[in-house]
């Protein structure tokens, strides 16, 4: 809870205590002088206003403290330097789009799917993905290699999926499953 919210709650308590005192004093006056003052609506309006501002404070605090990433929701605790700030990096959308376009092709996803199981020579990939012609397979592998999703051993010629390649592939599957599940619901 932020200091601002705490301060609001403290003020609210003080106001309620103050109003209770006023009400008590007026009731006593009413009893003694026969005067009747209706302050019920004023108190309700005031409390609603204060509660609304408290709710706004809590919402903004929650937005600041919760980071929603690829692995789900992360609640950041503590009042030190915000960990959330570490996640707010400058985004180069052209690079992101370049990488996503390397990933955004069915054959290339199939290639990554095979490489996730282990490194493979081109003829092994050709056997597994017989629907892709040799030249197309080679061109897809070049695109994946340029994007840093796949690396080729120069000596043996084997293709391997890189760490970013594995993450990108898993993220693509996870997002797809997430979206599909959303549509079903």
């Amino acid at each position: 809870m932020s200091d601002e919210t705490k301060e609001e709650i403290k003020k609210l308590r003080e106001e309620i205590a103050n109003l209770k005192d006023q009400l008590k004093s007026l009731t006593e006056q009413k009893k003694s002088r026969g005067i009747y003052i209706d302050i019920g609506n004023n108190v309700r309006n005031y409390v609603e206003d204060v509660m609304e501002s408290v709710a706004e404070g809590i919402n903004s605090e929650l937005e600041r403290c919760i980071f929603i990433g690829p692995k789900g929701m992360k609640i950041i605790r503590g009042r030190g330097p915000s960990q959330y700030e570490e996640h707010t990096v400058e985004v180069d959308y052209s690079k992101v789009s370049e990488l996503m376009s390397a990933l955004g092709q069915e054959h290339r996803l199939r290639i990554l799917g095979e490489l996730v199981k282990g490194g493979k020579y081109i003829n092994e990939l050709q056997e597994k993905l017989s629907e892709i012609t040799a030249s197309t397979l080679s061109s897809h592998l070049n695109i994946l290699e340029e994007a840093g999703l796949v690396v080729q051993e120069k000596v043996r010629g084997r293709y391997l999926i890189t760490m970013p390649g594995r993450i990108a592939y898993k993220m693509a599957l996870r997002i797809t499953r997430f979206v599909e599940r959303g549509y079903q619901e």
């Binding site: 120069k154 000596v155 760490m163």
Partner: protein
């Protein structure tokens, strides 16, 4: 056993054809024909060579982990003289005497010029160390390469 230092022979040789000096799962070192070479001797035995020619090093420094592959492949032209020690018997049959054209093609005036450069590399590699004449780099010991920076 006698303690001796490596020394260079005076004979300048050249490769008669392209040679793969090393081929393993992760590394290839190859050199073209007409690469000049000077034998490294320990006692009377040839223990290696210093080569200079159009050569190439291919090295896979990639590690495959469960989280994905890390590292990269290095492919580099070797422009400076380099040293090879170890199992060199197979290479001997692909070497013949070099001529002045082979030396000038690599920027040397003559054989002495090349030997001087090769001596410098050998000195940087072995310093003043002495080794047991029958103890090091026998046929089962594999090979050692040393490259100029």
């Amino acid at each position: 056993m006698i303690l001796q230092q490596y020394r260079l022979d005076n004979t300048i040789l050249k490769t008669t054809e392209a040679l793969k000096l090393l081929q393993s799962e992760r590394a290839i070192i190859e050199t073209d024909g007409n690469t000049i070479a000077v034998p490294i001797k320990l006692g009377e035995e040839t223990k290696g060579y210093i080569f200079h020619g159009h050569s190439k090093l291919v090295l896979d420094t990639i590690i495959e982990t469960k989280q994905g592959a890390m590292g990269k492949s290095v492919e580099k032209e070797i422009k400076e003289p380099f040293l090879m020690l170890g199992k060199t018997k197979d290479i001997q049959q692909h070497l013949s005497t070099a001529n002045i054209e082979n030396l000038t093609a690599m920027g040397y005036k003559d054989g002495k010029d090349f030997i001087a450069k090769a001596e410098e590399l050998l000195r940087r590699f072995s310093g003043s160390r002495k080794v047991w004449i029958h103890d090091c780099y026998c046929n089962a010991s594999g090979v050692i390469f040393a490259f100029s920076k």
